[in-house]
Amino acid sequence: MTRDHGLIDELLAVRSLGGLDGDDAALLERELAAHGDCDECLRLEVEHSEVAGMLALALDPRPVDEAIADRIVAQRQPRTEQRPDRTDAAPADELSGRRDARLGRWQAAFGIAAAVALVLAFVLATHPDEGVRVPGTIVAFEGAPGELAMAYTPGERGALVWGAGLPDPGGGKVYELWMIEDGNPVRGACLAPTEGAVAAYLDADLSSAELMAVTVESTDCPSAPTTDPIFTAELA
């Protein structure tokens, strides 16, 4: 049976230019999921992304400080290497400094120690029989307004997630946290903010996750995301 790709073609065109939003983002995901492993869908996606990728070439190139390449190369760390504890780590270079600056916004708003203590109290109250260790690495999510952060220990199970100032996901909606493993989303947890704040313990194996993402989903917490991520965070 020949499938109709008109709708997918149109929505992929908009998505490739970064313009897809609202219900159409979820609609596209549903349509793509319904088509499954579809060569025509892939062809359309590639065509639009190639055209979009060429548009930037219309701009006058803007010189870049070559020292950026040096700083990036100096950043390389083995993926299994644990990041230093944020509480005693000195920024290694400008990039680290900028990340710390972003984290600083969160720290200023809440105070890391207070926030972790709050989440630990929550975890101990809800998981009284489980031993809980204070994780050593904290990552700040980027994306939608508000602040969202996660503390974890690379290679170990579990993470503490907390946030504040988050937008209301809407009636009948929650935030759903995903672990992106080899490009595929793996369900983490559903988070229902109270007055914009969330605090939760994620009881999951993060060792294979390269990225964390948060989408807005219905309260039945689907097993696959139906909308685009509003928050993401790269892991070590």
Partner: protein
């Protein structure tokens, strides 16, 4: 995602001279600093132009470029050749990060009720230069001519969506066009661009 699949064929034959991007990226995956620097030399300046075009702040634009290339350096295996060329992947990454920054800033402005404090816009509309594009390097001239060849209403949608970082809903709201019209014009524009840019494909 693996680097082994090669279902995609680059659309344009106008690839930079020398080692193909995909081969360089494979070498980056093996920790080859020289390969990374070659990719950086090829795409950092256009990435910077794209980021700056969207965010209009030099420091933020440079940070976006740095983060995008840091991701290339640390996790090159995120590139999936089945989904397009290295260039489209990289430009997509930069564009996505820049649009995120634009929308974060917009949201913050809304929250602080300072919408009137918009930063002065930079007059570097790529479609302004299309008439004088004759002396530009090949690919840039090609893309500018393709943009110039679009009907004005289609070019306007591309301009707002890609180069200004507006969503389809924002464009509909700003222009008063029905959302469906914004989407259909986007598709028509992309098809026409594809036709023009695809003409150089052997």
């Amino acid at each position: 995602m693996t680097l082994g699949r090669t279902r995609h064929e680059p659309m344009s034959s106008a690839e930079p001279a020398g080692t193909p991007d995909e081969a360089l990226l494979l070498r980056v995956g093996a920790g080859d600093e020289g390969a990374f620097r070659e990719l950086f030399a090829r795409y950092a300046s256009v990435s910077h132009a794209l980021a700056f075009r969207l965010v209009r702040q030099a420091q933020v634009a440079e940070e976006i470029v740095q983060e995008a290339f840091l991701a290339v350096w640390r996790t090159p295996d995120r590139y999936d050749p089945a989904r397009g060329s290295v260039r489209s992947w990289l430009m997509g990454t930069v564009h996505h990060r820049a649009v995120d920054a634009v929308r974060r800033e917009q949201a913050q402005r809304r929250r602080s009720d300072q919408a009137a404090a918009l930063a002065p816009r930079v007059a570097d509309d790529p479609t302004d230069d299309v008439v004088s594009a004759l002396d530009l390097p090949g690919e840039r001239r090609l893309v500018q001519r393709a943009l110039a060849g679009l009907p004005e209403e289609q070019r306007d949608v591309i301009q707002r969506m890609y180069f200004d970082g507006m969503s389809q809903s924002q464009i509909a709201e700003r222009t008063g066009l029905p959302l469906g019209t914004v989407k259909s014009r986007t598709l028509l524009a992309m098809r026409r661009l594809r036709t023009h840019l695809g003409e150089v494909t052997p």
